[in-house]
Symmetry: C2
């Protein structure tokens, strides 16, 4: 099925960007990238295979691939000691290559968009910058090359996930559809984690009738850190794209903070719930679709999903950018909704309190949201209600105040996540002419849980 | 310590608001409220002690107190059967009384503000309405009367929690300070659950140098439902107010969905994380302060807190209402921040993505938030950063884009919850003249976690 391919990234010297003083020491010891070495610097002693230094890396930091698959960077002083050991591997002069592969391997597409998984420390500022080419990411994952082949490895853009929005989502959707039309077995997007849940949700709607998996993955820790999670996430994502019998848009990240199990979460039900933990991504209001262990074993859970199939992917990639999300709070002024309407917003998702409340202020009716909601509804603005509790579902029939809001023109969106509801609103308004409430309350990409009970949260 | 007190709520007849046809049947069987009965209606058979019907209740619904402490309402048809059993209790003709008590019981104050715990089904609309007087709530909790006495039982207002804001928080703070000044052993507020986390946070700041516990509690299910949680929450809250050696503002709600263990969460670290579950309240980024079992045993956890003490409570109840919370999302327009500044907002909490990002859009700089943040900062608007991940902490030193935002005038607020940060901003701007960033980054009421590691989330 796969064609033989190889891709290269060339660096100027076999050593890349190392400081000449370091390069000289390597040369004296007849050490080249790929060689197994023991490095001693100060209190640190590290054994593994030497990698060349990227052009953006610190020239004084020696990068070593450990036996556990991680890369570690050791910033050395002049007195470091390096010794060659048995166990060198062929790195082909650090021309990073997707090596020639068996032609019967399943073929997947790897599409990079930026994010921590494609980042390195900028040693000039101490911060993390987006840098790595997809081939560079893959070069550190030789174990995959015996399992999957690559129909395409490409970078669409190199953006922190806070800077992606509709134009990028459209490019991603078109690229995925194009790869699928050309026969890929699955698509992997590398992506920043901060807005991965937004992107996975909107792609879930843009890519209709999916025949194969589309998997978003990323890293919570950058690749120079010992706790780097991107390698295992990417391996699991590639395995899912190649093998999982799930034709949905999914997020593949760590299931727990140990490096044992990754999880596949439905693209519309997943949320980043921790700023830094490797198991930050939680499936909300349902179970993950599947778990993937280190050996690649995929365990599907008892959740409904679409299996692989022969459908033609249907691209519905329009997106109305005049949609907004308003999280309410005690005293939130209804003028905030008025402003959005005045600005020409066509859809608003409210992240209300509890079962879906906005202030109605029986004692101070001038601060009630009801007149502003009525006005927005009269002007044709779609208003959807979700809950800032995140878990559970909004329900307009419990409290009298909610039924008032319902009558004023609010559509209650069940257990849909606020972020997913925002994405669905932009997609619905972008691709359809009218009857928005009908589309918004129809289960299109698993955004409403179909199982009545989900006990863990 | 306690004075003997009794309080009454009078209803017109011994039976209250029951339908005359039902009252007649009770009279024929010589059954009065307090009597133990077996009620059979259609498929339902219920045994327990008859209660009178509240004036807002459905006259055709017979209210029975079950042996498990819950009340159940059975809406009966004409063919219902009722039989008197052994085991009547004295309900004093349904004059609801806090009975005469032993004078050595610890004395607490119960202050009602509304919410589901003080609500009943409105059988005309099918919705839940706020109705019950605090005495009515307490009348269903006879087990407490041997444990605590009541310095005061009063209702400040009867509002759904979405309709509380600064003016109510001030009244609550003044009431708590007044009760404490008068020597109460602890204050219990009953409160709607939807914004209980906001109120507990703002009271944590308004009530400085607390000498005794202030405990907010409520119910996720209304008192006519079998799954009513308000009774156990209120019992645990009263026990905490009377006995817990914790002089903090806390939330007392179910620890798990079973009726076994309640938890005390620090007022600044707690969030409603489920729309309907009884264990909806989660302590975020730290452990609960204590657990309370059904028998009243209080188990304190390894978390730092202030014990009971002899300090004079200090009331700092001003609140600047021109503070807002903005949750960011991909493509969120910087004009949204401009609008707040134009409206005279003096403080803004951003709920950014991940470690605290807003869009900086290197490719579309006209959509970058940085110029709007700079403008707001120049106009003296305090801008604080939190994370929509909720768990974990924001950190400006990891990513280059964040350091740019920091330089533009954003104060990063560690692991403070967005809602707590909003409350603290209103409180800080209301009570202090300047140097807001210093106050906002100082740990005043446990809003910053002091333990470095909290593994569960």
């Amino acid at each position: 099925m796969a064609k033989k391919r190889s891709k290269t990234v060339t660096v100027d010297s076999v050593y890349g960007n190392y400081d000449p003083a370091i390069t000289q020491r390597f040369e004296q010891a007849s050490i080249v990238p790929g060689d197994r070495i023991t490095l001693i610097s100060g209190e640190k002693e590290v054994e593994g295979n030497l990698l060349a230094q990227n052009e953006l890396g610190n020239p004084s930091t020696i990068i070593i691939k450990l036996d556990n698959g991680y890369n570690v960077g050791v910033t050395v002083d002049k007195n470091f000691e390096v010794t060659k050991q048995d166990g060198s591997v062929e790195l082909e002069s650090f021309e990073i290559r997707v090596p020639d592969q068996e032609s019967n391997l399943p073929q997947i597409s790897l599409i990079a968009t930026g994010g921590t998984i494609a980042s390195r420390i900028d040693y000039k500022t101490g911060g993390v910058v987006m840098a790595m080419e997809p081939e560079e990411i893959f070069a550190t994952l030789p174990e995959l090359f015996n399992e999957v082949s690559f129909k395409e490895v490409k970078s669409l853009f190199t953006l922190g996930s806070e800077d992606l929005s509709a134009s990028e989502w459209k490019i991603m959707a078109r690229e995925a559809a194009s790869q699928i039309d050309e026969g890929t077995n699955g698509v992997v997007f590398t992506h920043g984690t901060d807005t991965m849940g937004y992107s996975s949700a909107v792609l879930s709607f843009m890519l209709q009738d999916l025949p194969v998996p589309v998997v978003l993955t990323g890293a919570q820790r950058s690749s120079d850190r010992g706790s780097y999670d991107g390698a295992l996430n990417l391996i699991a994502a590639a395995r899912a794209a190649a093998h999982a019998n799930i034709a949905e848009v999914m997020v593949c990240m760590h299931h727990s903070s140990e490096d044992e199990i990754m999880q596949l979460s439905r693209g519309t039900k997943v949320r980043k719930m921790h700023t830094s933990r490797r198991d930050a991504f939680k499936t909300i209001n349902e179970e993950p679709l599947a778990l993937i262990d280190r050996d690649g074993k995929i365990t599907q859970k008892v959740v409904s999903f679409q299996g692989r199939n022969d459908r033609q992917v249907k691209l519905l990639e329009e997106y109305e950018e005049k949609v907004g999300l308003i999280k309410t709070y005690p005293g939130v002024p209804p003028a905030l909704l008025d402003w959005h309407v005045d600005q020409g917003y066509r859809g608003i998702i409210l992240e209300g309190t509890g079962l879906g409340h906005v202030p109605t202020f029986p004692l101070r009716t001038e601060n009630s949201w009801i007149p502003s909601i009525e006005r927005a509804a009269e002007e044709g603005v779609f208003i959807g209600m979700t809950s800032q509790c995140l878990n559970g579902r909004v329900h307009p029939y419990v409290y009298r105040a909610l039924r008032t809001a319902l009558q004023a023109g609010v559509t209650y969106l069940g257990d849909m996540l606020p972020e997913t509801a925002l994405m669905k609103t932009g997609w619905t308004l972008g691709n359809f002419e009218d009857d928005y409430a009908t589309i918004m309350t129809k289960n299109i990409a698993g955004e409403f849980s179909t199982l009545l009970k989900y006990t863990e949260y």
